[in-house]
């Protein structure tokens, strides 16, 4: 399988990249690791005339503490680097684990966190983790930078809040609440390296048997990665028992419009989301109970 000819622009700064995508408009695509973009181009699903490369921008792959116990991850950090980073493992272990479940080792070593998010695929592993952690994206555009909460970043089927000429620069992840438990559960239809049919991220804080805070998000079920708001409401303030957990699992299953495709029917996706929400919450509840 070969690629059709295109022009290749290597950028030295974010400003260069913004200028290049503004100048070429719809003819241009940004390329980071290329693991999603190159297959799309090979199959001619998209045919950009210009590829604007971010790979040469110094420091865009930096992973560092971001103040107030938060974490700052440059858009070009690979899944492998995020999964291995001591900072990420300490501040946001949920994200490190989700990144360690992306595809296979080689794809993780090539594909970047920023590319993953900008692709806007529902079955993304890091996306639900970042949603559950309350992360924010920093976008650079012709008018400067703006910050978008990740919950507003995914706007539809392979669609994001990125406007024309905008480049994702970094993701900021707040520290997890003290004593919070977490899980990322990836349910795949066949093999381990498949995409998630249900990619469920949960952050749960329980005090004296009562749920203080719940953040749930899922990829692979709806047309984009989404927070499970009703499920969280069904947990917060309640005592964590079988009844509460069953209610939260039902809420999760009913608050989304599941996709229906060759990976799985809508009914199956709904059932699996309910099942795994219940199982994961039970697991975390047992963990809290010690």
């Amino acid at each position: 399988v070969i690629l059709r000819p295109f022009e290749y622009v290597e950028c030295a700064t974010i400003d260069d990249a913004v200028k290049a995508v503004v100048a070429h408009g719809d003819d241009a695509r940004l390329i980071a690791g290329g693991t999603a973009l190159v297959p799309l181009m090979k199959h001619q699903i998209i045919r950009p005339r210009v590829l604007v490369s971010l790979a040469g921008i110094p420091g865009l792959d930096a992973i560092e503490p971001g103040g107030h116990g938060a974490l700052s991850i440059g858009a070009l950090a690979t899944h492998h680097d995020v999964a291995r980073s001591a900072h990420v493992r300490a501040i946001a272990p949920l994200l490190a684990h989700a990144c360690s479940r992306v595809a296979s080792p080689t794809i993780r070593a090539m594909g970047t966190l920023g590319g993953n998010l900008c692709y806007g695929e529902s079955a993304s592993d890091p996306s639900p983790a970042l949603l559950a952690l309350g992360a924010q994206a920093t976008l650079a555009g012709p008018g400067g930078e703006r910050i978008v909460p990740l919950a507003q970043f995914f706007t539809g089927f392979y669609e994001t809040a990125l406007a024309d000429g905008e480049v994702l620069v970094r993701v900021t992840v707040p520290a997890m609440p003290a004593g919070a438990r977490w899980r990322y559960l990836k349910w795949t239809p066949r093999a381990r390296e498949d995409k998630a049919l249900v990619g469920l991220a949960v952050v749960l804080q329980v005090e004296d048997g009562r749920c203080r805070l719940a953040r749930l998000a899922v990829g692979g079920v709806a047309s984009s990665p989404v927070p499970l708001v009703a499920a969280a409401q069904a947990l917060e303030g309640r005592s964590i028992d079988d009844r509460t957990i069953a209610g939260a699992a039902d809420a999760a299953a009913m608050e989304l419009e599941p996709m229906d495709d060759l990976q799985g029917t809508a009914v199956y996706r709904r059932d699996m989301l309910r099942l795994w929400t219940r199982r994961v919450l039970h697991e975390l509840a047992r963990e809290v109970a010690g």
């Binding site: 399988v1 000819p5 693991t35 190159v38 090979k42 590829l51 595809a103 080792p105 080689t106 070593a109």
Partner: protein
Amino acid sequence: MPRIELTVNRRVEVVDVPVQWTLLQLLRDGLGLDGTKEGCGEGSCGACTVLVDGRLTRACLSLAVRAAGRHVSTVEGLAREGVLDRVQTAFVQHGAIQCGFCTPGFLMTTTALLAEHPAATDHEIREFLSGNFCRCGGYTLILNAVRSLVGRDVVTRRAARA
């Protein structure tokens, strides 16, 4: 057409590459190194796995121009002066090769595995090799070859049944 300089298997190469070429095309068509295979061509099967500066890379998804200034290691660079390296030797000894098409990819992935996890557990081995497909279905023998390289017992069919 951009001219790039890169090192391939410890040898410096200066080549003109069409900008739309993948690293796989550069290796096979540009440099005549056809040990690296194209399976699916879209990053799923692992047959084109090479190392770029020691990192696992799907040559079919990498743009050749991005290899400028880097060191690319392919299956052709494993043997020295006609003597197979220890990964190749283990694959031969354990019969971990059937049609051979996936073998270069498995050899390169195993090379990266040994660098990262010299005493890999069974779980780490399986996780590391999960992106390489053998459509002959020879996984048991491949796993045995890799197990032998990290000092783990090989699993015979008889022992597996017991």
